[in-house]
Symmetry: C2
Subunit: 134 residues, 2 copies
DNA sequence: TTAATTGTATATTGTATATGTACAATAGGC
DNA sequence: GCCTATTGTACATATACAATATACAATTAA
């Protein structure tokens, strides 16, 4: 249950809570924070930790299960999967590029200096080049 | 009115249409596509181009005006501003970093290879280093 | 001054989020 | 094998937000 502490939910952010959970957990999964086969908290436990309703957590788990990240079963909870074969989406590259540019634009609008934006980008790009683990 | 053609609205994307307009225009503004003082299409004209209601465009223009990108007045339309002094936000850097990691995680989930993600990141980082113009 | 053009305000309708509540399935104790 | 607790699921509902329809206000130009 250590991992639930790394999730921070902002009820006032405007972004749906279940999406925040999905995004947060997915980022941790991609970065290799979880072992394959590892148990995630039950929907009720994580809901208590975050101060929300368990159905909201369940919705998030369902999305991640559909994406192939989790094996989700009654009475068994959520188990992290290997996810060897993600189905490659064709327009996903263009979509990523567009959203990346939009994210940069928003950061600059919020006053983040271009140099800081560039630094983060370069750092994460390098990390991805190393296999995404380091 | 040339620029409205560069905006693409996807009614089925789940993302609110007015937000799509805000994000798209903001990305163009940041990348220097517009001259200061340039006229944007009227809310009604852009609404026709995009096939939506003019109030939806108006909402998007209002957001950009609040951010300081546009001067918006009745009978005068929307004019692009210089936007010299964006108010610097303190937690904006952390927010950008988090959203960047989440965006990467989503792309990888969608099947985009890590190498492709890294390439886009590196390219845009370099562009930002050059002053964001090239 | 008048009329047309442009952004704005308000009400309405559809959709989605988060919750309350009840149910279904299954692992473990007996 | 049966019971019970635990876990995810299904469904209805309150609420909020998004997009629209419609009417209004302001301002420019003739």
């Amino acid at each position: 249950m250590r991992h639930s502490r790394t999730l921070r939910i902002d009820l006032a952010s405007g972004q749906p809570v279940y999406e925040q959970i999905v995004s947060g957990l997915r980022a941790l999964l991609v970065s290799g924070e979880f072992e394959s086969g590892e148990q995630l908290p039950t929907v009720r436990q994580l809901a208590i930790d975050l101060g929300i309703h368990h159905n909201t957590v369940a919705e998030a788990y369902r999305v991640l299960a559909e994406e192939g990240w989790l094996d989700l079963r009654r009475r068994r909870g959520a188990v992290v999967l290997d996810r060897r074969g993600p189905k490659a989406t064709p327009e996903a590259k263009q979509d990523f590029r567009k959203r990346l540019e939009e994210l940069i634009a928003k950061a600059i609008t919020n006053g983040v200096p271009r140099s800081v934006v560039a630094a983060h980008m370069a750092e994460l790009a390098k990390k991805l080049g190393n296999g995404g683990k380091a």
